[in-house]
């Protein structure tokens, strides 16, 4: 007999919650970048294969575990085997790290959203320098959108070591972002589903990684969501639906992103041509309108031969305008979302409207994923009797949000973006691979694949097809192991880790080495989540030994 567990009002709400969690910013800024890097449309081949072979089986597994055990990640894995409660703890730790830094993105989206209600958009013009004779130097060297991002939004310091203080503007936006998340999770996870919103071996590895992280496996969020399901829920169907929608959203987002790239590239190319034409017209006193895009090269050649000295004098100032080089700028991550997109938006008609819509969309995606993350943390906490007997649900949620918000203030400092990159690159990657590997092995070999299969059949009333069994027991673990080995060897081979720092004097990014304490933090991030698994197993072992030691004298 169990205490009445809150349920989703209907299965549609559950599906929407999963979709809103899985469809996140990665679909918008990571997938289009990968497509561009690995051959455009042909990237879809490894992506779809990995989706079918790795994404769907693992998603189904997580949902089934949650629905069967009807508890959050810690309780679910403890039920499967007491030695494996560490897997649940590791999931919670990783989710905790993720929620710490992920909400900063929402804070930036709020910042840009609030600044979109001005004419002209603040990132479309450079501010003036001291005596109003020209534009600010840093803005001239970089572009106005880069300046707005690096200087006005982040106020970034030249390196990781120079910490600077907490900036009050992003800190306020972060506070607001956490208040919004708290508002949504206040009443518990059931209320979060209401909003809908998803050759080369490197290509395959990146496809596998993208599917993996895009679906949000291993964080415990999917287990948490599924634990609120009716036992008879058809989670197989839902697993397929969620993963398909997630992939379609990625593909749709790339179509949009590529058209934005094209627009921006064309605009910049035409601007470049105009500047060169003006420069030539002024220097050689040519007729206005004589130079066009088509005859530019011819005229340049003629001028070079007719006035060689004059031409060679001004030659350094002529830029070589090329549409291909504009299109080649592939960017991912915050650079894509906040620099490239804003640059494209500022050139559109009615740019305020597009800007507001775009950042609103980013917010929806970001907050949806945040709700899944916080569910992963809150569900085990509210399940645990010790904590939930002392504090009401609202207080637990409030405490989690407060702690995360306070720690998140680190990312609003001047060097905050560098710490953000550290968390983004290292907090979740290796640990998640390990967690999902242990999960798959635990369900198939520790709990027993036959036992799990009969449980599912009893619960949902449908038999588990052979395809899923083959994937769970064989193919997916092998894939994860190979991914894991690849990443580990990659980290070892590249030696010291480097990061990109913004150089204000040059107006561009430069590569620098991480200092020792940053490397220590990275090591700590990875270790703290992965070590949970063996430590918890050891703890349970010791506990059992002690109990057996006490019981022996009696027997």
């Amino acid at each position: 007999m169990e205490k009445a567990r809150p349920l989703w009002a209907n299965s549609l709400q559950f599906v929407f919650a999963c979709i809103s969690y899985a469809v996140g910013l990665g679909n918008v800024w990571r997938f289009p970048y990968l497509c561009q890097m690995y051959g455009g449309g042909s990237f879809l081949v490894p992506y779809i294969i990995m989706l079918i072979v790795e994404g769907m089986p693992l998603l189904y597994l997580e949902l089934a575990v949650g629905q069967r055990m009807r508890q959050g990640s810690i309780g679910a894995w403890r039920t499967i085997s007491p030695y494996l409660s560490g897997v649940g703890v590791a999931s919670v730790v990783v989710s905790f790290f993720l929620s710490m830094y992920y909400n900063v993105i929402n804070a930036w989206a709020f910042w840009y959203l609030f600044h979109s209600f001005q004419d002209p958009l603040p990132w479309s013009v450079c501010p003036l320098n001291g005596n109003h004779t020209g534009y600010d130097e840093e803005c001239e060297k970089a572009s106005s959108t880069q300046y707005f991002w690096y200087r006005k939004t982040l106020n970034i310091s030249p390196s990781l070591q120079e910490n600077g203080g907490v900036q009050w503007e992003p800190a306020l936006c972060l506070l607001l972002a956490w208040l919004v998340v708290y508002l949504c999770i206040l009443r518990g996870t059931e209320s979060t589903g209401k909003i809908e919103q998803l050759a080369n071996p490197k290509a395959w590895i990146n496809a596998a990684t993208q599917i993996f992280f895009s679906l949000g496996l291993g964080f415990g969020s999917l287990i948490a969501f599924a634990s609120y399901n009716e036992p008879s829920n058809n989670c197989q169907k839902h697993a397929i639906i969620v993963s398909l929608i997630n992939s379609f959203t990625s593909i749709f987002a790339s179509i949009v992103t590529f058209s934005i790239y094209g627009f921006k590239a064309t605009f910049n190319y035409e601007n470049c041509l105009k500047k060169v034409s003006l420069l030539l017209t002024n220097t050689f006193d040519l007729e206005d309108g004589f130079l066009t895009a088509s005859n530019l090269e011819q005229v340049k050649g003629y001028l070079a031969s007719a006035y060689p000295s004059k031409y060679s004098e001004m030659f350094p100032q002529i830029k070589n305008c090329s549409l291909e080089s504009e299109l080649d700028t592939a960017v991912q991550g915050t650079g894509l979302a906040f620099i490239v997109y804003t640059e494209a938006i500022k050139n559109m008609e009615v740019s305020q409207l597009w800007s507001v819509l775009y950042f609103f969309m980013l917010l929806m995606l970001g907050i949806g994923s945040m709700l899944g993350n916080t569910a992963a943390i809150l569900t085990p906490l509210t399940d645990s009797k010790i904590i939930s007997s002392h504090l009401p649900k609202e207080a637990i949620s409030g405490l989690v949000c407060l702690v995360n918000c306070a720690i998140g203030m680190v990312f609003t400092m001047e060097a905050g973006n560098y710490w953000f990159d550290i968390f983004n690159d290292y907090a979740a990657t290796l640990s998640l691979l390990l967690i999902v590997l242990v999960e798959t092995i635990a369900v198939c070999y520790v709990y027993g694949l036959r036992r799990f299969e009969s449980d599912l059949k009893a619960m949902t009333g449908r038999a588990v097809s052979w395809y899923w069994k083959v994937m769970w027991a064989g193919v997916s673990p092998l894939l994860i192991v190979s991914l894991f080995v690849f990443y580990l060897s990659d980290y070892i081979l590249t030696g010291t880790l480097k990061y990109q720092a913004w150089d204000a004097s040059q107006g561009q990014l430069v590569t620098k080495d991480y200092p020792a304490y940053a490397l220590a933090v990275i090591g700590l991030l990875v270790a703290s989540s992965t070590m949970c698994i063996p430590l918890a197993a050891l703890g349970t072992f010791v506990q059992r030994r002690l109990k057996r030691g006490d019981a022996d004298p009696v027997a």
């Binding site: 007999m1 169990e2 009445a4 349920l7 709020f110 910042w111 609030f114 600044h115 209600f117 001005q118 002209p120 603040p122 013009v125 501010p127 003036l128 109003h132 004779t133 020209g134 534009y135 306020l172 936006c173 607001l176 208040l179 919004v180 708290y182 508002l183 206040l186 009443r187 036992p231 008879s232 006193d285 009401p392 649900k393 609202e394």
Partner: protein, 170 residues
């Protein structure tokens, strides 16, 4: 226009058009000019002329229907118009509005949660606790949730109260 600008400078009110000398006039409407002292002894220093032109550039532009991009005085950097800077940044206003809405919504949700819990705590004190717990557990045990008997709203039939005595704790 140049003479007009020079006239705006103190001490130079008497500058006339004849004091401005042109040279090197080209077909493409560009020329060099100097401004001479009224006594026609010497030319005025460039710095003075430059600052005078700078102050009146807007009027010169408007007279010719040109702007800073189309009419350029070499070595006179144009004064750029600063972007509009309202006293209170707009984003703070919008932030304030959204912030207040969210705070109000959170407060409402928390308060309604507290009221609901208080109401729930008041009712069970009238009904027997063991009976209630048994009732709640039975409804979930089959996996099919069914509505528990609504003992809160209806009248308690004394004839059935004797059932309590049968449920002796083990």
């Amino acid at each position: 226009m140049v003479a007009f600008s020079m006239r705006k400078v103190p001490n130079r009110e008497a500058t006339e058009i004849s004091h401005v000398l042109l040279c090197n006039v080209t077909q493409r409407v560009s020329f060099w000019f100097v401004v001479t002292d009224p006594s026609k002894n010497h030319t005025l220093p460039a710095v003075e002329v430059q600052s005078a032109i700078r102050m009146n550039k807007n009027r010169i532009n408007n007279a010719f229907f040109l702007n800073d991009q189309t009419l350029e005085f070499l070595k006179i950097p144009s004064t750029l118009a600063p972007p509009m800077d309202p006293s209170v940044p707009i984003w703070i206003i919008i932030f304030g509005v959204i912030f207040c809405i969210i705070i109000v919504a959170i407060a409402l949700l928390i308060l309604s949660g507290i009221w609901q819990r208080r109401r729930k705590n008041k009712e069970p004190s009238e009904v027997d606790d063991a009976e209630d717990k048994c009732e709640n557990m039975i409804t979930i045990e089959n996996g099919i949730p069914s509505d528990p008997l609504d003992m809160k709203g209806g009248h308690i039939n004394d004839a059935f109260m004797t059932e309590d005595e049968r449920l002796t704790p083990l």
